[in-house]
């Protein structure tokens, strides 16, 4: 087993509180499947035998149930590790928590990632460069094409998110610089020594970190044992920037050679420099001294000549489908696009066999109907996803919307660009545009809404 896979499903979804108030983020439906199903399915397809899912105590039962019910065909063995529900742990903290279970290099995926990447591409980069950490990046589409999108439940247009500034080497594989735009006050500074080694640096600002990482085993040791590493709580925000920065610092003299066979007490080892973690194991060392392999040639010569053990690499997805459903806008986008990427969803038909569509109703090719859903007459459904056991009354129009399970829409409604959470009843003739309806709501008949959050009033201010 080369890699162990970990899915981080312990996020609060704090960037979309209106949605996660009723459903945990990992279980939010996208294309009528829980969000966490996507990474699990991807790993399953790639041939992983087991996966560790880190989630909250309270979510565990629902999560296992949801995964098993929504996809009985999964062969992968699920190992769910729970963290206390009242803690708000970052990804690095979670990783530290499951450290004992990790025996090899580890593939860390966030539960909100939906992508059709072939995992071996990332692993290839990791193997080729013997990288300490390999990051999956995705080129964001041009802002101009999505400038006019309204976010359900929000008056303002979609904000431009703070981007990362990422510096890559000439070939575009190694990460030389990583900084969040928000963290820089005025100037970005770059040391001359970096330039001396990498005189050609490409800087990209339109890359999105997909939150999929392959980490070397020793990085986990560093997270758990090192006094710097122990202070980190997130992989993206703290660990990766630190590793990128540390690529160009030389180890302090004295710590360069960890003394072999010395029976150091645990405490003394904790102050090891990060460079000493990445050292070669004894077997590799012996193999190298005894073979005629010349490390100063070819593609890798650059690394070995400089003796750097810490290498951060990346695989950039130029095209293909990659989206992180971590905001309301991204969640809508994911639902909108998922029907166009059927290969991710598997072979199931978009319209469930048990769904009934009555005469003169139109359900577009780009829409989905869940199990047991009933669509009455003269209904028009376009670019929308409708969950299980919903009832859609006569002459309803649903465009560009997400309707979760057990929703009852009475006749004559027009629902456009909205999200309707589960167990909600919508009265006759309601018109809503770009709205977000909370779960178990009762929307009165003939009401008109635009860009509003309906229900969960106490949370309204947070958006």
């Amino acid at each position: 087993m080369e890699y162990q896979a970990v899915i981080m499903a312990g996020g609060r979804g704090s960037r979309m509180p209106d949605l996660t108030a009723s459903v945990p983020k990992a279980l939010l439906p996208v294309g009528n499947r829980p969000l966490v199903w996507y990474p699990v399915n991807m790993l399953d397809k790639a041939g992983f035998e087991s996966v560790i899912i880190v989630t909250f105590d309270s979510v565990k039962r629902d999560l296992v149930q949801a995964l098993q019910s929504s996809a009985g065909e999964l062969l992968i063995r699920l190992e769910v590790v729970t963290i206390p529900s009242d803690e708000d742990w970052g990804t690095a903290e979670s990783l530290r928590f499951i450290r004992d279970k990790i025996k090899t290099d580890v593939l860390v995926i966030s539960c909100d990632l939906i992508t059709d990447i072939e995992l071996h591409l990332l692993a290839d980069v990791h193997r080729t460069y013997d990288a300490s950490v390999t990051v999956l990046m995705h080129t964001l589409p041009d802002q101009s094409t999505e400038g006019g999108i309204y976010v359900p439940g929000s008056k303002s247009k979609r904000k431009i998110e703070q981007r990362d500034i990422i510096g890559l080497d000439e070939k575009g594989g190694r990460i030389l610089l990583l900084a969040a735009q928000a963290d820089i006050e005025e100037d970005l500074t770059l040391r001359k020594s970096v330039f001396k080694r990498y005189p050609f640096i490409q800087v990209k600002t339109r890359l999105m970190d997909a939150h999929m990482y392959i980490l070397k085993k020793w990085v986990l040791d560093f997270l758990a044992d090192n006094k710097v590493g122990r202070t980190y709580s997130t992989i993206k925000g703290e660990l990766i920037p630190y590793l990128v920065r540390k690529q160009f610092s030389r180890p302090k003299t004295g710590q360069l050679v960890p003394q072999p066979n010395s029976m150091e007490p645990e405490g003394a080892q904790q102050d090891k420099d990060i460079a000493s973690y990445g050292g070669l194991d004894e077997l590799t060392k012996t193999a190298r001294t005894m073979s005629s392999w010349n490390e100063h040639m070819g593609d890798m010569s650059d690394y070995y000549q400089h003796g750097d053990t810490l290498r951060c690499h990346t695989h950039i997805m130029e095209n293909g489908f990659c989206i992180r459903a971590n905001t309301v806008a991204a969640y809508c986008e994911a639902n909108r696009q998922i029907t166009q990427h059927r290969q991710i969803l598997g072979d199931d038909p978009l319209i469930h066999p048990t769904a009934t569509i009555k005469t003169k109703s139109q359900v577009g090719q780009d829409s989905m109907l869940g199990e047991g859903t009933t669509v009455c007459e003269k209904v028009s459904i376009k670019r929308s996803i409708i969950g299980k056991h919903c009832t859609v009354g006569d002459k309803v129009k649903i465009i560009n919307s997400v309707i979760m399970d057990h929703v009852n829409i009475s006749e004559g409604c027009t629902i456009q660009g909205s999200i309707v959470c589960g167990n909600t009843h919508i009265g006759e003739g309601v018109e809503m545009k770009d709205c977000l309806v909370g779960s178990s709501q009762n929307v009165p008949p003939r009401a008109k809404y635009s860009s509003e959050v309906i229900g969960n009033a106490d949370r309204m201010m947070e958006i």
């Binding site: 640096i201 990209k204 302090k252």
Partner: protein
């Protein structure tokens, strides 16, 4: 280009024809004195580089690139340049290029020159701007087309700068041209920074906001070939403070939003381009030419017909009329000019020898550049040396690397010139009287006659020698404050080690910041106090203001009175150490501290009032002594000083002296022991003085 012109001529369309002429401006003056004293008789552009005047390389490059009209801008030694150009092969009737020298002796910078050009309105269209010390074999035609096409679309694309790809450590990468360039994907230059002497490059955040992709490059060398639109000269006129191209580049980049002008870059990888900006560059470019990197600019193509260099194995070039005595060895990369003679058993490698030189027997020359009419007698030995015209070395002269012997200097016999010696025929007083020795040579010729008024230093140049050590003038105009770089003195190695040590320091600091909690308030307070004190001393601010500042800092950082006293005392003790690089000795420290204490006495009086605060003050002194040895040595005197100034009372001092060390740390108590022995004589004196006063009272 030429074909086009003819066609247009046929149509008789004079306007069109004019527009189609490609013009170039050559700045045949460097506007600096980096090559002094060699520039005293000759402008840099006429220096022989591999036995061919430098400017010929530039002109040849421009002519072969299709330039049809060249203006050569001459300032110093203009008459020489003019003569050279008139005599050159391009002045023949059948030359398809017109070269016009422009003389303007009152120009002091590139900016002045371009303003002059604008004033004379000689530029009609896009033109090529180069300096007169350029060696290049690149093709300009496509680049100019590119530039024009870009300009047609966007009138603000005023300049295309040509860069040569040269990785760090490249031979023709000049120290001062250490640059980082940021461009976008269309090769527009977004940032241009000189890195010389800097550890970090800075990029303003808005660059990243505006551009989704950028390329930061440190592998480039500015070739100083610029394709300029006609607007460039206007820009120089509009901004009369622009002195050189760097100013223009900086100005355009800074004012981009206001003026909207844009810079583009073109990178050449295979072709050659380099400038002779200083002696190390002179050395490396000479070698490149000998080794034929700048083909077709190679010796046999460049020199006049009659000389006829022949290329032998190992890049040995011999002119037609060279005499090689028996047993002389020309190892590699050697060129010997017409009429020169090499003596028996002489060994030469990687050197250039000019015309009509006579080299004696058993001479060893390595990396040596010998101009015309030089005589070297037997048994001389040298490496990394430049010998200008008419230099004469007597028997057994040894010259160590990095020496330059200017025109007509005589050295020897049997003497060794130490590394980095610069010799000239002009006595030093005159050399200094006119810093800008480049300005005119007539002045220099006059001083020539005064030779002999000043006695020659025989210890330097030898019994029969003639010449004076030339001191490089301190040149405040030199933009990077860098002294003349000496040939062969390997400055870069030193730089490297310095750089890395600084870097690790820097790294350490970064670690410090990231691991440790934010600096505590006392530390901040302490820094504030030191700053205030420094300001007070330097700017002679009233002491009341200092007290006020310290008080307000106390509240800002929430420091207790006790800490305040201790920190203020420590700050005073720290002050003398701040401005010095080496640790001070006690003897040096004391006078500084004395004046300081006298100046700051009111401050002391303000804070140190009762015995308790005096004790705090003493403890602070003791603490500081742990850190500084010099202070420990000076401690008794400091105590005496404060005692006499009535800041400390006997009572407090004795109480402090007798008190036990508060901590159990053995190291601490050892320190204390040491301090106690240090101050013992003073305490003794103090006790005696006390007794005396007591006894007096009794009387």
């Amino acid at each position: 280009m030429a074909g086009n012109t003819k066609k247009n001529k046929g149509k008789g369309d004079s306007i069109l024809q004019q527009e189609d002429i490609l013009q170039a401006v050559v700045l045949a003056d460097s506007f600096n004195v980096r090559f002094a004293p060699m520039t005293s008789e000759r402008p840099r552009a006429l220096f022989p580089l591999v036995n061919c005047p430098l400017i010929d390389y530039t002109l040849e490059f421009l002519v072969s690139a299709g330039v049809q009209e060249i203006f050569v801008f001459c300032c110093s030694h203009a008459d020489q340049l003019k003569k050279h150009i008139w005599a050159s092969k391009w002045n023949h009737k059948n030359s398809h290029c017109i070269i016009t020298p422009i003389v303007s002796e009152d120009c002091h910078s590139v900016g002045d020159a371009l303003r002059e050009i604008e004033r004379k309105s000689m530029i009609r269209s896009h033109f090529v701007l180069v300096s007169g010390d350029l060696v290049s074999n690149m093709l300009l035609k496509d680049l100019i087309e590119q530039h024009k096409a870009r300009f047609k679309v966007d009138k603000s694309a005023v300049i295309t700068l040509v860069f040569k790809q040269a990785y760090p450590g490249h031979r023709t990468r000049s120290e001062e041209d250490d640059i980082v360039v940021a461009t976008d994907t269309t090769h527009r230059i977004l940032s241009y920074q000189k890195m010389h002497g800097k550890m970090k490059a800075r990029f303003p955040l808005n660059l990243f906001e505006d551009n989704r992709e950028m390329i930061l490059r440190y592998d480039l060398m500015h070739s100083h070939i610029s394709i300029c639109s006609p607007r460039v000269t206007e820009l120089f006129v509009d901004n009369f403070d622009y002195q050189n191209m760097s100013d223009l580049i900086r100005g355009i980049l800074i004012n981009e939003e206001i003026e909207g002008n844009k810079l583009y870059m073109h990178v050449i990888e295979e072709e050659y381009a380099a400038r002779v900006t200083d002696l190390p560059m002179y050395d490396s470019i000479s070698k490149d030419v000998i080794r034929r990197w700048a083909h077709p600019l190679v010796p046999e193509n460049l020199t006049a017909e009659g000389e006829g260099y022949k290329l032998g194995r190992h890049n040995v070039y011999l002119a037609s009329d060279v005499t090689l005595e028996r047993g002389s060895i020309l190892q590699e990369d050697v060129i010997i000019g017409q009429g020169s003679t090499i003596g028996t058993n002489t060994i030469i490698s990687q050197s250039v020898i000019g015309k009509n030189c006579v080299i004696g027997e058993n001479v060893i020359l390595e990396n040596t550049y010998i101009w015309d009419n030089v005589r070297i007698e037997s048994n001389c030995k040298m490496s990394m040396v430049v010998l200008c015209d008419r230099v004469r070395l007597m028997d057994s002269v040894i010259i160590q690397p990095g020496c330059v012997l200017s025109y007509g200097v005589k050295v020897g016999p049997s003497i060794t010139l130490p590394s980095g010696t610069l010799l000239t025929l002009y006595p030093p007083s005159h050399g200094e009287s006119d810093q800008e020795d480049k300005v005119d040579d007539r002045h220099m010729n006059r001083t020539n006659r005064q030779l002999g008024d000043v006695p020659v230093d025989k210890d330097v140049v030898g019994e029969e020698g003639e010449g004076y050590v030339w001191q490089p003038p301190l040149d405040p105009d030199d933009d990077d404050g860098q002294r003349q770089q000496l040939l062969g003195l390997n400055v870069s190695v030193e730089d490297e080690t310095k750089g890395s040590s600084e870097e690790s320091e820097d790294e350490g600091q970064e670690d410090f910041v990231s691991i440790s909690p934010p600096p505590d308030d006392t530390r901040l307070f302490y820094n504030e106090v030191i700053d205030s004190m420094q300001r007070t001393i330097e700017e002679n601010v009233k002491l009341e203001n200092l007290i006020l500042e310290v008080n307000s800092s106390k509240y800002a950082y929430n420091v207790s009175m006790r800490e305040l006293v201790q920190l203020v005392v420590k700050a005073v003790l720290e002050m003398p150490h701040l401005k010095v690089t080496e640790p001070l000795q006690a003897s040096q420290l004391l006078p500084r501290l004395t004046t300081l204490v006298h100046k700051l006495l009111p401050v002391f009086r303000n804070y140190i009032k009762n015995v308790e605060s005096q004790l705090d003050c003493l403890n602070a002194l003791e603490d500081y002594c742990h850190a500084s040895r010099a202070t420990t040595a000076a401690l008794p005197k400091i105590l005496l000083l404060l005692y006499e100034a009535d800041v400390l009372s006997e009572e407090a001092i004795l109480q402090w002296y007798n008190s036990k060390s508060s901590s159990d740390d053995p190291a601490n108590s050892a320190n204390r022991q040491q301090i106690q022995t240090q101050v013992q004589p003073f305490i003794k004196w103090l006790e005696e003085a006390e007794e005396e006063s007591d006894s007096e009272e009794e009387d």
